[in-house]
């Protein structure tokens, strides 16, 4: 439910952004606003919480917007979220918007997990290989996890390519267990 609503709000803003040819800027402003709010700590909770009167939350938002200097559309979007009591969905909306933006730009984001360090050339080669396979530009976050023992685990959206030694050993274990 939360995901569906967030996606709808993101879709609405993204449509306006496309019309305004400012979808990249709206996305960056929204993501930046969310990052600032998250960094500010308690203020984000105040804006999201129904426990505070709407006027208080509205005044707080206006104060932040006055400082943030966001595009009018983004500001109105945030005011709408507050009005509809959906400010708590902002993180999911940012993620959904980013996805829409990535789809629009032919970009897919993911995670690459390795047991050992991955140098830049290897990472570039890997991104290239993954991009060729998936047909999009690939942006990955690299994580290190010794539990996979060796090899690489790449996750791009719903797609998981597991080339780790841990997976191979697990497959071997299942194979031995069924014989």
């Amino acid at each position: 439910m939360r995901g569906v609503l967030a996606k709808r709000y993101a879709q609405a803003l993204f449509s306006i952004g496309l019309d305004d040819q400012a979808h990249e800027a709206y996305g960056q402003e929204l993501a930046g606003f969310w990052a600032s709010l998250k960094a500010a700590g308690q203020i984000g909770q105040v804006l999201s919480s129904q426990a505070y009167p709407k006027e208080v939350r509205s005044q707080a938002l206006e104060a932040i917007l006055a400082q943030a200097k966001l595009a009018r559309v983004v500001g109105d979007f945030l005011r709408l979220l507050l009005l509809k009591g959906r400010f708590g969905f902002l993180e999911a909306i940012v993620q959904a918007y980013q996805k829409l933006l990535d789809d629009k730009n032919g970009l897919i984001r993911g995670t690459v997990t390795t047991a050992g360090p991955l140098d830049d050339s290897q990472l570039a080669a890997l991104k290239s290989a993954l991009g060729a396979y998936i047909g999009r530009r690939v942006e990955v976050t690299v994580k290190s996890d010794p539990a996979i023992i060796g090899g690489v685990v790449a996750q791009l959206g719903d797609l998981v390519l597991d080339g780790s030694l841990r997976a191979k050993l697990n497959r071997l274990g299942r194979l031995l267990g069924t014989t």
């Binding site: 396979y133 060796g150 690489v152 299942r174 031995l176």
Partner: protein, 205 residues
């Protein structure tokens, strides 16, 4: 007149007795001292004896005359009664024999019926025994089948558990072995292999 009739009757029906009476009367009247001499008894004693004897014979004759009919009737009646009794008993005997025959026949029939019932019981018993044995055999077969199936299942489960355990142990040992011995160049080679595999994959788009 009665006496004359009595004497007439005796004379006609029992001439011997009448003769004896007359002879004894003659002897009583004719006993003389010479006849009695040498016997040890006097003539008067002999006459007394003969008269007593005549008296006894007459008494016996009177008894016979008087009691002959009633005694005869009594014995005739008794004889008839006995004959009737015999006849009755014979009839009863005959009836009882007939009844006995009937009962013997019935007994014979009962015997055959009993034998038939016993035979039927034996047949029923044999049939019931066969049914019970067949049922027991069926149950035993079923139990054996189930036991065999359970054993086979247990064997499969045990084999699978053993294989799983062996696999897990092998994986654990292999993991420890690899983790302890893997080198940076191995990591690099594995990364490269992964990239090679990704490159070989057919494109999704």
């Amino acid at each position: 007149m009665g006496l004359a009739f009595f004497g007439d009757t005796i004379m006609r029906k029992f001439p011997f007795l009448f003769g004896a009476l007359v002879a004894m009367a003659v002897l009583a009247f004719s006993v003389s001292p010479a006849l009695a001499e040498g016997t040890g008894y006097s003539p008067a004693q002999w006459r007394d004896f003969f008269w007593r004897a005549i008296n006894f014979v007459v008494f016996v004759g009177l008894l016979f005359f008087l009691l002959r009919k009633p005694v005869g009737a009594f014995f005739r009646g008794r004889r008839d009664n006995i004959a009737r009794t015999i006849e009755y008993l014979e009839t009863q005997t005959k009836n009882l024999e007939e009844q006995n025959e009937v009962m013997r026949r019935q007994l014979s029939e009962l015997t055959s019926e009993r034998e038939a019932i016993l035979a039927q019981y034996e047949r029923d018993g044999a049939r019931e025994r066969d049914r019970i044995v067949a049922e027991a055999q069926k149950t035993a077969d079923l139990i054996i089948q189930r036991t065999e199936a359970a054993m086979a299942q247990e064997l499969v489960v045990a084999r699978r558990a053993l294989a799983t355990e062996t696999g897990e142990l092998a994986v654990k040992l292999a993991t420890e072995l690899i983790a302890n011995n893997i080198q940076p160049e191995d990591q690099s080679r594995l990364n490269h292999e992964f990239m090679e595999r990704v490159i070989r994959l057919p494109a999704r788009h």
